[in-house]
Point group: D2
Amino acid sequence: MPSIDMEGVRTLGRELSNWGRWGDDDQRGTLNLITPDRVSAAAATVRRGVTFGLAVPADGTGPYSAPGSGRFNPIHTMTRYRGDDPRGELSDFRSSEDMVILGTHSSTHVDALSHLWYDDLLYNGYHHDTAVTAWGAERCSIQNLSAGVVSRGVLLDIPRRLGVDHLEPGTEIGPAGLDAAFDAAGLRPRPGDVLLLRTGTYPRHRRGADVGLARSPGLTWECARWIRDHEIAAVCADNFAVEVLGANAGGPMIPFHMLAIRDMGLLLGELFDFEALAEDCAADGVHECMFVASPLNIPGGVGSPLNPVAIK
Amino acid sequence: MPSIDMEGVRTLGRELSNWGRWGDDDQRGTLNLITPDRVSAAAATVRRGVTFGLAVPADGTGPYSAPGSGRFNPIHTMTRYRGDDPRGELSDFRSSEDMVILGTHSSTHVDALSHLWYDDLLYNGYHHDTAVTAWGAERCSIQNLSAGVVSRGVLLDIPRRLGVDHLEPGTEIGPAGLDAAFDAAGLRPRPGDVLLLRTGTYPRHRRGADVGLARSPGLTWECARWIRDHEIAAVCADNFAVEVLGANAGGPMIPFHMLAIRDMGLLLGELFDFEALAEDCAADGVHECMFVASPLNIPGGVGSPLNPVAIK
Amino acid sequence: MPSIDMEGVRTLGRELSNWGRWGDDDQRGTLNLITPDRVSAAAATVRRGVTFGLAVPADGTGPYSAPGSGRFNPIHTMTRYRGDDPRGELSDFRSSEDMVILGTHSSTHVDALSHLWYDDLLYNGYHHDTAVTAWGAERCSIQNLSAGVVSRGVLLDIPRRLGVDHLEPGTEIGPAGLDAAFDAAGLRPRPGDVLLLRTGTYPRHRRGADVGLARSPGLTWECARWIRDHEIAAVCADNFAVEVLGANAGGPMIPFHMLAIRDMGLLLGELFDFEALAEDCAADGVHECMFVASPLNIPGGVGSPLNPVAIK
Amino acid sequence: MPSIDMEGVRTLGRELSNWGRWGDDDQRGTLNLITPDRVSAAAATVRRGVTFGLAVPADGTGPYSAPGSGRFNPIHTMTRYRGDDPRGELSDFRSSEDMVILGTHSSTHVDALSHLWYDDLLYNGYHHDTAVTAWGAERCSIQNLSAGVVSRGVLLDIPRRLGVDHLEPGTEIGPAGLDAAFDAAGLRPRPGDVLLLRTGTYPRHRRGADVGLARSPGLTWECARWIRDHEIAAVCADNFAVEVLGANAGGPMIPFHMLAIRDMGLLLGELFDFEALAEDCAADGVHECMFVASPLNIPGGVGSPLNPVAIK
């Protein structure tokens, strides 16, 4: 892909902007594209009654064990497991308890629109001084998704179309790649669609492969316009940042994120696992599903771990 | 309700037992009742394309602030909110990060079948010494729900049928109450159904009311047979323990739990919020929905916070 | 005490300032007053060989259970307690494990000099934009105390001198009160001293009393000059904020903090428990001790839980 | 060293046992050896007034990043760093806040006597069923150290005596090595002493060296008798488990731990950093110090992070 510099991001961001499109107070961005008829149409795609969880296990094999990354892998600890009753508080039953400590972006997750911005302004023009504080996101928090994200999901199985197991580090998926993936799926993009972008990256990381995190394959920044033109509501991927990493020499590190989250108000999901779903889609030839993603209801949250479900 | 003693629980437990019904290795219990045709039928209930999140906010107003309860309220903290870049690691964008610390049973949640048992044996006869250890649940963990729980949900709005805002502490809902609630909803129970039991309790707690936690209204232990007979897959409630508390003088504290989780392998969900869904059901007269609950994918977890969604 | 407004704080702050006194790069403030001879002199106060821990138990009875306070009480959970060995990793021994989740200011603690400031500048003129970031305190972190704080401690048992069990909410301790407490102790202040200010407040809170947190008794802002004049190195107290709360109508909420931490670089400790030490001092008439406080070695920390020790 | 099997541990354990020595209710073990005169004598060793913190930084470079170890490295996060005041709760000052999540054995720490045992019984004969439960250690918790551990510390700088920078993996230190180290230090062991055992291991791990964790150099099990004979109160080391690892082929993995903690009631500390102290001792030829270790006051804790201080 051609490089894009900061000024290029600003110019393209203005062109693709959804600021004000759904009102000056809007905090939901492209979720507004998922109208009730889109929800109903998604439900109508269910035929066989099979479901697929799209989350990787939230455990210590995540990508954030390195010191200094500022993130850490999920921690799960049992706090009671034998129901011992030394203080006589229980009676006849025994029970177990546990807890989790989770960075909201450290396992399968979606980003709130308050997660990323530039030039001091978030999506829809909210200033970061008052929108994202120590008390949490006052604007564009994950609670804007608290009724769930329900729409048609379309699996774009890029490596399978190319006849490979997974995409190599640095592989760029541009607008033409998205068109080709839809063609291969026998589908046309529809407003409100959720793209489920399979690269094969993160499940391989979990199996111990060195997947070249810093050069993760993914979308080019040019896909932002394609996504805007096709009125896509969300993109979820099985890589680290949806977009290709390490490919924009001389410009911002993650230009697609900047355009997508801040200018377009696009929902992004990362660290997904599409392996089982992809097998199923390859087997029955149906690449659309009812997609249901329901983040935790975290006041002020700027992201959330979750386990999205694909229903076919 | 009549009291039931420990021996009574054992006898009734044997009668209602689902042990072995789905194989000696089964760890999913009544989720087996949700066959693919039940999933498809659930999707077919979607008409208007509206969605309702059923989780309360995971915040510090939960029920577990008292010292010594062994649980604690959800903790959410921002770990970055201004995107400051003192070390030059970022470039042109700014971002925010946060984390959550969650007891898996301290906000809206579902119980894994490894959460509760008696007489040293869990559901399907697994011995607690090897099934629930410091390393997590080796059997019946929450990962058995990792493909999501998708079925028909039926809102049983008990207080509204009775013409009250909420049920008083100690109010018992027995089998006849369940029948009456289905009648009022104009529906018949079907195998695989998820009961959404509204009492009005927990949302009132969150609004600051003293709801009498120790005498929370809910199901009587007699409902266990009703639920077994009607092949119900799950019961989710907006109270603390699904069942009525403080009502079984002289016997086990929570006999319904013991029968439901351990003998029947029934999925239970607690601390739900049905207020908005109930308003909608009262308005359109439709009390069934597509219910999608997707716990976090926690290896060895004995429960999970989540945000279930009702789709109508 | 007379009120002080923001402009008064600024003026007095300049007068009492220790900025530059120990070099432009100094991050230790009044700890510089604890010279090696002060350490040796502190050791020389040890006569009977008795020790007192000054920390309250780090448990759920702390002061921060209320939602929205932005702090939370200490959490301690066992993560292994029976040494079960389901996976064959252990051999002949059994062991237990646990973990703690601690706000660094939520139980007995000391403040790093990066904990509080005004007008955008920290102690010694460091600008908050670069000194205190999402990655931690780059200046004035708790690591500046990582060799331990060892000096003479002087117990100022204010209520006992007044013949009462504890000070009532709102009680102000001014410079004359400090003089009187030293007189009652039969001691003279020396450079490098650590004041151990007993009010009786926090231990009562832990015993269930309503101690009027918002009007906690303590030092007046006028004590800042007294402390500067006498070259005191640190003040540790058994209340919530060292200083009296709710007493500076119309001015800043905690003017002593602003002067002490930001302008003077004074070490403050809070939520201490002096009950046992005070009994001992009353019994033997010796109110000085060797004081050893050793915060956790937390890179970038802005405070630390700890268990200071008084040795007599 | 010769191997020791489980029966050998039991036999030697009975011989070295301190059970009942300080009463049937004792929970402090060898801390009883630190009598007031030992505390005073420790204070009398202070000459130059210099202090050394012995804790490594509690950060993400600890030894527990590997998935499945059941431990995790310390987590420190800022929760407020700019004092933003969007809700008007603050007035004129700005402040910062942070928190830590710490496994009690995952950085520099001491073990409570409830941390390890065998044959179902802890130190002094407490049964593990009632002594160590989900609610914490009911016996032998870390709170038994809450008045601090203050005694003479003796640095045993094993590698320096041998003319090397650090001990190689697998290096065994036996009773003769302890005698030689005392001789080299020009000191004789005294009752109540705290041994500060330098191997050079953990500081090297933190500098990125592969130190062969599974074969960490350290004490042989034969040192247990030496320690018993010399009435040592505690052993703290800069390796992973005080004792040599991987050296007892065919027998228990950590026989010294079993004898020391369970039979003798000996205080152990691990993951210390003696580098700066060792430089100082080499320079002035004085290898004794006043040692002050003060664990956090954690009710029911089975260990504690801390920052011990050596004062010379």
